[in-house]
């Protein structure tokens, strides 16, 4: 079986990194101008901690050494090289478009939390609970709009989803040209100062996991 880490434009630069279970990485040409970085594996298993981290490390290293990387979804185990080529057959246009989309960009994550105050009473009735949840959804939607406005000129794309569960309000991801990273962080800082009742946590730069599919929102 093959574990696929990412798809890259040919010729891919593969850093000297080992894959899952220290398996060596190798390159499979899937189309005339597309390559996959894979390692051999002993068949399907539950996604464990070590494997998840090893996968992430390889994708990260590839993203650092290549202009455009499309991370592969973790659980997709592939029988062999022919199986891989067959599965990607007919998707050249989609993949070429995705490479163009992420080229020169990194992904940044933003999560928003309601800053908890010890003095704030816990909702003591179902009605109070529902009201708080409604308030959270409204607050999250408002923040999503605020972020979109603040970042519009800086990012190539963005996607967000309202969580409103517990203290979590919003999870957003942005496709940011490398040159705009500093501006991006500054813009997030400005939004955070405008919303002192929230805590924003920015993560990244990540490889463009959330933008590897052309219709990321539909996936």
């Amino acid at each position: 079986m093959l574990h696929v880490y990412a798809l890259l434009r040919r010729p891919a630069t593969v850093p000297a990194t080992a894959g899952i279970d220290d398996a060596p990485l190798r390159v499979v040409t899937v189309e005339s101008e597309i390559e996959a970085v894979v390692s051999d594996t002993n068949g399907p298993g539950a996604p464990g901690e070590a494997a998840i981290l090893a996968h992430a490390r390889v994708v990260e290293a590839l993203a650092g050494a290549n202009d455009a990387v499309l991370p592969a979804r973790f659980a997709d185990r592939i029988a062999d090289e022919d199986d891989l080529r067959q599965r990607l057959h007919g998707r050249r246009r989609e993949l070429t478009g995705a490479f163009r989309r992420v080229s020169g960009c990194v992904e940044m994550g933003v999560r928003a939390f309601r800053a908890t105050k010890a003095s704030q009473p816990r909702p003591d009735s179902g009605r109070a609970y529902m009201q708080r949840r409604l308030d959270d959804v409204g607050s999250a939607e408002q923040l999503a709009r605020q972020l979109d406005e603040a970042l519009a000129a800086l990012v190539r794309e963005g996607t967000s989803r309202v969580l409103a569960s517990g203290e979590s309000l919003l999870a957003a991801a942005y496709l940011v040209p490398r040159a705009e990273l500093e501006q991006f962080r500054a813009a997030i800082g400005a939004v955070e100062r405008a919303r002192p009742e929230l805590t924003l946590v920015t993560t990244g730069p990540w490889p463009p996991y959330s933008f590897a599919l052309l219709d990321a929102d539909a996936a």
Binding site: V4, L7, A46, P47, G48, E49, I52, H55, A56, V59, L70, P71, A72, R73, F74, A75, D76, I78, L84, R87, L88, L95, A98, G109, R111, F113, A115, R161, L163, S168, A171, I188, G189, E192, T199, L200, V201, T202, T203, W206, Y209, S210, A212, L213, A216, A219
Partner: protein, 64 residues
């Protein structure tokens, strides 16, 4: 300046990483049902969670 504590930053980074590796990326098999879109942390191994909790505790212990 972000007001997030290092412990929160670290925990969120872990959640974001696992969410990306398991739920995002190009699907090769076309089997979307394998993913757990929209559900955070479902797949996270217990050890991974425990690791983040112990990290949190350690960080808390280090802070003055």
């Amino acid at each position: 300046m972000s007001s997030a504590s290092p412990a929160l930053q670290q925990q969120v980074t872990l959640i974001e990483l696992v969410d990306r590796v398991l739920n995002k990326g190009v699907t090769l098999t076309g089997d979307i049902t394998l993913s757990v879109a929209g559900v955070d942390l479902v797949y996270v191994g217990l050890r991974l969670l425990l690791a983040s909790v112990s990290t949190l505790e350690r960080l808390d212990g280090e802070s003055p």
